[in-house]
Amino acid sequence: MVTKQNKKDNLSYTKTAYIYLIPAFTLLAIFVLYPIINTIITSFKLDYKFLTGAFTEFNIRYYHEMLKDPVFRRACVNTSFIAFVCVPASMISALVVALALNSIKRFKQLLITLYYLPQVTNVIAAGFVFLLIFNKNFGLLNTVLGWFGIEPVAWISGSGIAGSAELYNQSYRRCLFVLFVYSMWQGLSLKVILFLAGLQNINPQYYQVAQLDGTSKLNVFRKITWPLLSPTTIYIYVTSSITAFKAYSMVVAMFSEKFGPPGDNSKMMITMVGYILEQLGDYLKPGAVSRASVAAVVLMLIVMILTALQLGITKRGVHYK
């Protein structure tokens, strides 16, 4: 009956504990808790003047305006593209790679190290490289396409889009493609490692039993591997989605702070975080910081919903042994 807590009741040191926690909670209070509350409140302040802190009234007007803002909508579309197209695509690919990796013994460590490289690569540097690879004239991709007799494509270009909707959409699609490839390249690396770890965590006895029963490879995957992998899968999906919603640096690296190919004035490739930071860039303008706060609040809500979803699913629908 000597519970963990009871075991040392004469040795509890409340004062020490609080002293140890002061640094963490001071930083937490200033850089996390205060910002959360402040941002939420600021999102309601109309005509907020950054320098003086003055504002006219509390209103949800900025929320209305933002939802109607085509740039914000564009940001939502782009961010959703990354979260709901790029992420699943890279997850599927990562799973395939992890499955293959799990079946081999030699060079595994080497391959793992190489696969993980994109994760430790500077986002800006990587963005520059991809920009070059997709360059119309000097790009690697167009060169390779040229071997197959395909004409060079202007991947990241905004020429002529001002006048023609068709050209605009074409340019947009191509930029999305570039983003997609970059996302895959970057996203694969982390997911492969996590999937591999998840696969390695599955008790080999399950496979041995299946082998004795003569189960087909497909069924082994469907009935054993996939269900037992589900906690890992869910974790990867949620964390990757959350990271996707925070996408910013890669877009800036490839499409500059104007969020679009050269010649584009519509901020074609802007993301939600890009929208926030762009509003913030004008921080001296009345109401700019409030608008940024509105976008931040919306972003936070989405992330919180996703996280709650993960906790909910993990607690209920996971196929454990």
Partner: protein, 276 residues
């Protein structure tokens, strides 16, 4: 039967190697272009490998922008962040794992929930705070916000909880203070987790862009990431050879560091992930 097995294995290896090549291509292209002459880098179509190796690009790139200064800034910031955040995280994790005090559950829950909040939301107010304090373009602004890391506290706490109660009691009976116990008994046993946390922090500092970009406007205070970005604003006449040289200089140190310490980094990523 055996032939089928060999065929399958070779197929697997082939597939994996193809993927690896696709992953490596950008790195190759970056390094290859960095050694091309300006003329060669602008050739249409581009050459697949530098026909003449020009090492001078690196020197020239260093002149374009104060990259050495960027490196210095980044290393300085990384040093302080690693030092401060590790100390903060270890102390907090120890308090949560080992000590009993009122409000423990609630406070830890608070720490956990902050893991959910995206940095990007905090960035607005933190920027205001920094600007108001007049800390723009200072090291302080670059260091302090990164010193609180809920994930590290979570990881370290898990690790410390694995040390048996009896070890703690034995140490207390021998008259060790909590701090001595932390230093002499706990730390040696959680060494690898601490190293992992330090490495993850360093990688983060090296690669982060948004915050440094926001709080540093002077060139001499920039970090590698926003420094690199700033040095090559996209216009029609970019020296790709120099750009790639700069990119290589920025990327290589971290890759080397990763290769040397990959055991810690990979195990840390996995530990945070697989257990959920």
């Amino acid at each position: 039967m055996k032939h089928k097995l060999i065929f399958r294995k070779s197929l697997l290896y082939f597939f994996l190697i193809v993927v690896v090549i696709l992953v490596i291509i950008p790195f190759y292209w970056m390094i290859a272009t960095s050694f091309k002459s300006e003329a060669e880098s602008l050739r249409m179509p581009p050459t697949l490998y530098p026909h003449k190796i020009i090492a001078g690009n690196y020197k020239e790139a260093l002149l374009l922008a104060p990259f050495l200064r960027y490196f210095f800034n980044t290393c300085t910031v990384a040093l302080f962040v690693v030092g401060i955040s590790t100390t903060v995280s270890v102390l907090s994790a120890f308090a949560f794992a080992r000590l009993e005090f009122p409000g423990k559950q609630m406070l830890f829950f608070m720490v956990l929930t902050t893991m959910m909040v995206p940095q990007e939301m905090l960035i607005i107010t933190n920027f205001s705070t920094i600007a108001r304090l007049g800390w723009l373009n200072t090291y302080r602004a670059l260091i302090l916000p990164f010193c609180i890391n809920a994930f590290h506290i979570y990881l370290l706490r898990q690790n410390i909880m694995q040390i048996s109660d009896e070890l703690y009691i034995a140490a207390r009976i021998d008259g060790l203070s909590n701090f001595r116990y932390l230093l002499k008994v706990v730390l040696p046993q959680i060494k690898s987790t601490v190293v992992t946390a330090m490495l993850l922090s360093m990688i983060w500092i090296w690669n982060t862009f948004a915050w440094p970009n926001l709080v540093t406007t002077q060139d001499n205070m920039r970090l590698v990431s926003n420094g690199l970005k700033n040095a090559f604003t996209i216009n029609s006449s970019i020296r790709y050879d120099l750009q790639m040289a700069a990119a290589t200089m920025v990327t290589l140190p971290l890759i080397l560091a990763f290769v040397c310490t990959r055991k810690y980094i990979l195990s840390g990523i996995v530990r945070g992930g697989v257990k959920g």
